[in-house]
């Protein structure tokens, strides 16, 4: 039986702030929020559409190299992804795969893009990314509370 909420973070912890997604999941796991399944991976892929089955809300969490600091949180809708040289999918493309596979829209989803600053090999999270992560986690408490009790209202960052 799936938990109603899914928080899915991805990234490469060996590449500095690219590990913000998995770090977010790890920190949230320590808080053990009820009703929330926490998953992380290296990249988003087609089979992750299956992880959305049975959810009421989904939060995608990734590092952002160019977005606003400390983070941005925006609803995401299904859309095709035409990146030509990558093996990874965007959150919108995963939602689109879900729709095509199941014949219905995926559960409402939000992308939490946490601003990263340094992506060097072997680096840990930068001090700025640590601060952004703290802010994002604080915001996530509200997202979880909101998503648990009332769908459709998304707290602003």
């Amino acid at each position: 039986m799936s938990e109603p909420l899914l928080v899915f973070g991805w990234g490469n912890p060996a590449r500095g702030d690219d590990g913000l997604g998995p770090a977010f999941v790890e920190r949230l796991r320590a808080a053990a929020p009820r009703g929330v399944e926490l998953l992380d991976d290296y990249q988003l892929q087609i089979e992750h559409a299956l992880d959305l089955v049975g959810r009421e809300r989904v939060l995608f969490v990734d590092a952002s190299a160019a977005g606003g600091a400390p983070f941005r949180a925006d609803p995401v809708l299904a859309a095709q992804d035409t990146s030509c040289s990558t093996h990874a999918l965007s959150p919108a493309a995963v939602l689109k795969v879900y729709r095509e596979l199941h014949g219905r829209d995926a559960p409402p989803a939000t992308v939490l893009a946490i601003r990263g600053e340094r992506f060097g090999l072997g680096e840990g999270l930068s001090p700025a990314a640590q601060r952004h992560l703290d802010a994002a986690l604080e915001w996530a408490q509200g997202w979880i509370a909101n998503a648990t009790t009332a769908a459709g209202r998304w707290p602003a960052p």
Partner: protein, 500 residues
Amino acid sequence: MSFALETAPAGATGLRRVAIDPLSRVEGHGKVTLLLGVDNRVQQARLHIVEFRGFEMFIEGRPYWEVPVMVQRLCGICPVSHHLAASKAMDRIVGVRHMTDSAVKLRRLMHYGQILQSHALHFYHLSSPDLLFGFDSDVNRRNIVGIAGAHPEIARQGVLLRKFGQEVIRATAGKRVHGTGSIPGGVNKNLSVADRDLLSRDAAQVVAWSREAVEIAKRLHASHRALYDGFAAMRSNWLSLVRADGALDLYDGVLRARDAAGKLIVDGYDDDRYLELIEEEVKPWSYMKFPYLKSLGPEAGWYRVGPLARVQNCDFIPSPLAEAERREFVDWGRGEPVHATLAYHWARMIEMLHAAEVIAALLPDPDLTDGDLVATGMRRSEGIGVIEAPRGTLIHHYRVGDNDLVTMCNLIVSTTHNNQAMNEAVRSVAREYLDGHELTEGLLNHIEVAIRAYDPCLSCATHALGKMPLEVALLAADGSPVDRVLRSGEGRLSRGGGAQ
């Protein structure tokens, strides 16, 4: 083997340069440079792949037992291949040449799960849109979503095959990401009975879907024979591991190389001796090296690896359904190896079928759920591990000091082996499709299709949001910008002069 386009003729003048250069700083990426003459004929073609550099330095200084886990961070697509290649090298470090039966079978199960999920991803997600809709079709349609709309059952099978492979990895490696299942000298756990039963339930279906995938690939070749045989075709040598008796084996074996006519160049080469067989050439214009067979030299000794090499390098495939498909594939070559770049897709699906058969055959084996897991031996200072990763031969080579810290790390990844071949493929396509002076999306598509057939791993680094555009720039011989086309990660194409 022609190198005509790699270097422009001495004293050539009036050349213009076409560059296809993704802007991504973070993600590994490729760049194509085409040098045009005054007659608008392609004079030079180069594929630059920005290799994931620095990883060897990242590994050096770490305890050897950490390495099989650490190296998985090299690649988000085939982490298990790095996990196992490093483990094989570290087996030698701990003095183990022969592991326990349980450990070998569990590693094989993990590896063939990886092969299955990676091949499924490539065929259904990356390649089938090109193949089923055509190279010139709308870019907004050429993706897994387009496939799902037009061929929903094919798309569904692709996702479920991929998921099954991932489940095999989870069950054997311990978790979905950065598993710890394989350790120096063996593995750290048996397959649980619950996971065995879970996987066994779907194994026959996975074999059946894999057979259908081979049929799709075969049908495409048969229905467009001239296109499939001729597109980016080239003659090359071939390199792969094979089992000692000549069977296809993706986990372990000896090195074998054939020439373009299929004649053996070397056979039975112990993988410990790879440095005697292969040399890497450095070219000033490329970050990525160019491996070649030493005995033939850099010009004649380049080779291809991966599914097309393996299916033709072996004498037989030790699973009945895939072997029947291999025979049909070999017949397609009419007495010579199949050299068509697009035949990689067909060969890849034959391997996927083999992987499905291997998994189905392994699952009932009691050694998976019970038995000794780790062997021991006399500690050594050097270890080499070679494995056939989804994209081709993967070599890990380490030296370890008395303090157990890695002092030297050398990795040759599959995409590097295919470097020359991908350059040849781009050149071939450029000769045929890029003789005009205008950069069109169709031209870009054809180059992408040729490169994509080799399934190069261009995303080994990171992928932060907003970092996946593709730029095509046309530069004059003096470097001044002439034209510029930008395809965003969302597929939007914009054009503007003054490329940067």
